[in-house]
């Protein structure tokens, strides 16, 4: 029974994943991908990993929302009012897809999954928590700092508004004395946004 449900969910995930490249609208494509991930999350729920499964759904809902926003923002013809082909460089794409599939399939076949069933009544969420606070503490903390770096990097790359003015004006700090050169370390040549006063 469980196997059947998992097979159905996998088929649904593949089908919605395929739909991503068949629908013309960026919004439909984003949320097709979301449905695909929802099915993957549901597989997690069936496999006695309820938190990880639900968290996948949770995260993907948010992320695909953000992705839809950016897709519509930057893609030509975002609603697919004129039908179009969503796949480019067919041959390269086919080869890359085939290689990725073969690689992942090999990884799955080569992996040695634990054979023991999870005993009913095991609190897998608590086990996850103890793991995060115990052996995997370093990974957990590294992830925290990495995500902080992501936040800072995203802001630097995408924000026009800087502390010291618009980014395309160089966002230069004011001088230490009135009219003096900008405070702080000077960028070494080639910055492209030098202002010589």
């Amino acid at each position: 029974m469980t196997d059947l449900v998992i097979a159905a969910l996998c088929l649904f995930a593949v089908w919605t994943g395929w739909r991503v490249f068949r629908v013309d609208s960026m919004v439909r494509a984003s949320f097709s991908l979301m449905l695909s991930f929802v099915a993957v999350g549901a597989v997690g729920v069936v496999l006695s990993a309820p938190y990880i499964g639900i968290a996948t759904i949770f995260m993907m809902a948010v992320e695909m929302m953000v992705m839809a926003i950016f897709m519509v923002m930057f893609m030509m013809n975002p609603a697919g009012l004129n039908p179009m082909v969503m796949v480019h460089q067919h041959r390269v794409a086919a080869v890359a897809g085939g290689l990725a599939f073969a690689g992942l399939a090999a990884a799955v076949l080569a992996a040695d999954p634990p054979a023991a069933r999870v005993a009913t009544g095991t609190d897998t969420v608590a086990a996850l928590g103890h793991e995060l606070l115990g052996p995997s503490m370093l990974i957990f903390e590294t992830a925290g700092v990495t995500l902080l770096a992501t936040m800072v990097g995203a802001v630097i790359l995408s924000s026009r508004r800087g502390r010291f003015g618009p980014a395309d004006d160089g966002s230069r700090p004011p001088g230490l004395e009135p009219g003096g050169p900008p405070a702080g370390r000077q960028p070494e040549g080639g910055g492209g946004h030098h202002h010589h006063h």
């Binding site: 949320f31 938190y51 953000v66």
Partner: protein, 293 residues
């Protein structure tokens, strides 16, 4: 057997609660009421120019389904919920996240300017407004040592969370307002965009969307009652009755609150959410954590 009974309770609560919410909405917040829902239902449908038909028809349905799914994790009696999952509050969190998607789709699908602005505004405010509610959910799980709402109810036998986590209920109220498109958090349906995501909706589709909004109010208020007011706990009366009473009280409070707070333009609210609500929810987690130890 008990499972079927609980599912029935969810469906009945949602249906009766939606009617009660419509009535309260009319009395407390100047909303349309049950009769207006019927009037909308009888009006003719409108199909806009080149809309996304599928999403247009499904958005109200998904919204309703999310309200029902959210209500399923709420225990109707101590120890009994339709979905007694060890990841209960994460399921509710996922419903919150998917609500943003659904409201966005509702505004996107008619291919018209005002609904589109409403959809994007809602995404801008609804996404970060979810963060305080996540902190609230996490804080509620601390004393219970579980993500299950059944355990969260049990952990409140001594004292309700509304006392142990004083900032929780106000912060969660913001999330409820945002989930149900009401009052100061209703960025989907502003008057300056002629009703926003609903501006091009007429007939049964409009009635269904409005009903789904009210159903979500029932669900979110039941969740608030469970997280902070001990859910089905209470003397003399049976558990479900306590839950219904507390939920109805929350609904009235939220409707009255939503009708009495001004809604700033979205840019201003975005700043408020990140610089006021979020630091407050940090503080909330800290207080709850120290008290729980």
């Amino acid at each position: 057997m008990i499972g079927a009974l609980l599912l029935l309770a969810v469906a009945a609560t949602l249906a009766a609660g939606t009617l009660l919410a419509a009535w309260l909405d009319r009395r407390l917040a100047g909303g349309g009421g049950i009769a207006s829902l019927a009037a909308d239902w009888l009006a003719g449908p409108v199909r806009t120019e080149a809309p996304d038909d599928m999403n247009r028809r499904l958005a109200p349905a998904w919204y309703l389904a999310l309200a029902a799914a959210g209500l399923c994790v709420v225990p109707f009696a101590p120890g009994h919920a339709a979905i007694d999952s060890p990841a209960g509050i994460a399921i509710w969190g996922a419903c919150e996240a998917l609500t943003v998607v659904v409201v966005f789709l509702h505004g996107w699908s008619p291919n018209a300017p005002f609904p589109l602005i409403g959809a994007y505004r809602y995404a801008a405010i609804g996404l970060p407004a979810m963060l305080p509610s996540m902190f609230v959910l996490i804080a509620a799980a601390l004393p219970a040592e579980s993500l299950s709402l059944v355990a969260i109810v049990d952990s409140q036998r001594g004292a309700w969370n509304v006392l142990r986590q004083p900032l929780g209920l106000p912060l969660f109220a913001v999330a409820i307002l945002s989930l149900t498109l009401r009052g100061p958090m209703d960025y989907a349906d502003g008057a300056d965009i002629a009703g926003g995501t609903s501006a091009e909706e007429a007939g049964p589709a409009r009635a269904l969307w409005q009903a789904a909004r009210l159903a979500m109010l029932v669900s979110a208020c039941a969740m608030a009652a469970t997280l902070f007011l001990g859910g089905p706990l209470g003397p003399v009366l049976p558990g479900p009755v306590w839950l219904w009473l507390k939920t109805a009280g929350m609904m009235a409070a939220i409707l009255a609150l939503g009708a009495r707070i001004a809604r700033p333009p979205p840019a201003r609210m975005l700043g408020l959410v990140w610089t006021v609500l979020l630091p407050l929810s940090f503080l909330h987690l800290l207080i709850s954590g120290v008290i729980a130890l």
